[in-house]
């Protein structure tokens, strides 16, 4: 069966510091991968998606970037965090189909 991991689970970072969040999927090959952000009390906003290694599409211009160095690894990064980057970051995968499955999320607080 497929499993999706995200780490860290929680993170507190000062403004201006760098960020690296990692997502890995097990038990499948060539998945579509997605990064979403969920602000408090709001829906999920799609940030990036990837249909293959090295292929990244950005949905929202911002302070963040994404990379996919391996088939089942998706990384969300920032060079300098802003207060507005705080939120719950969710990685999701799908097998070139309609069902998207979410990871456990990373709670990021920028202070």
């Amino acid at each position: 069966s497929q499993t999706i991991h995200q780490w860290p689970a929680t993170l507190v970072q000062p403004v201006g510091s760098p960020l690296s969040l990692e997502c890995t999927v097990e038990g499948t090959s060539n998945p579509n991968l997605y990064w979403y952000r969920q602000a408090a009390g709001r829906g999920l906003q799609l940030l990036f998606y990837s249909v293959g290694i090295g292929q990244i599409s950005s949905e929202v211009p911002q302070n963040l970037s994404a990379s996919r160095p391996q088939d089942r690894q998706f990384i969300l990064s920032s060079k300098k965090l802003l207060l507005s980057d705080s939120g719950f970051y969710l990685c999701a995968w799908s097998l070139q189909g309609y069902e998207q499955y979410f990871g456990p999320g990373t709670r990021l607080t920028v202070t």
């Binding site: 709001r42 829906g43 998606y49 999701a92 070139q96 979410f102």
Partner: protein
Amino acid sequence: QQQVKQSPQSLIVQKGGISIINCAYENTAFDYFPWYQQFPGKGPALLIAIRPDVSEKKEGRFTISFNKSAKQFSLHIMDSQPGDSATYFCAALFSGAGSYQLTFGKGTKLSVIP
């Protein structure tokens, strides 16, 4: 991206009652409509989904009703239980260009009271 509008924002239902959450969309190119359930501090879990060529889909106590002409769909939770207390999100997916991008509603916080 086109919006998906979800209502109500919050809902309180007595145990054993029916919970109804409604969503409306604008983009007729959407071709898949899932519902997700999210507990506090957890990632959303896919609950049930429907394609626009079907008017209703039932899985256990959960039913989606879909009205293509009105561009609306709803989630019905029958015999609601305290364990159903969670935030529910509707979503719509556009599969164009093979990216399968989901657009989410803002969520409904359901509380089922004993």
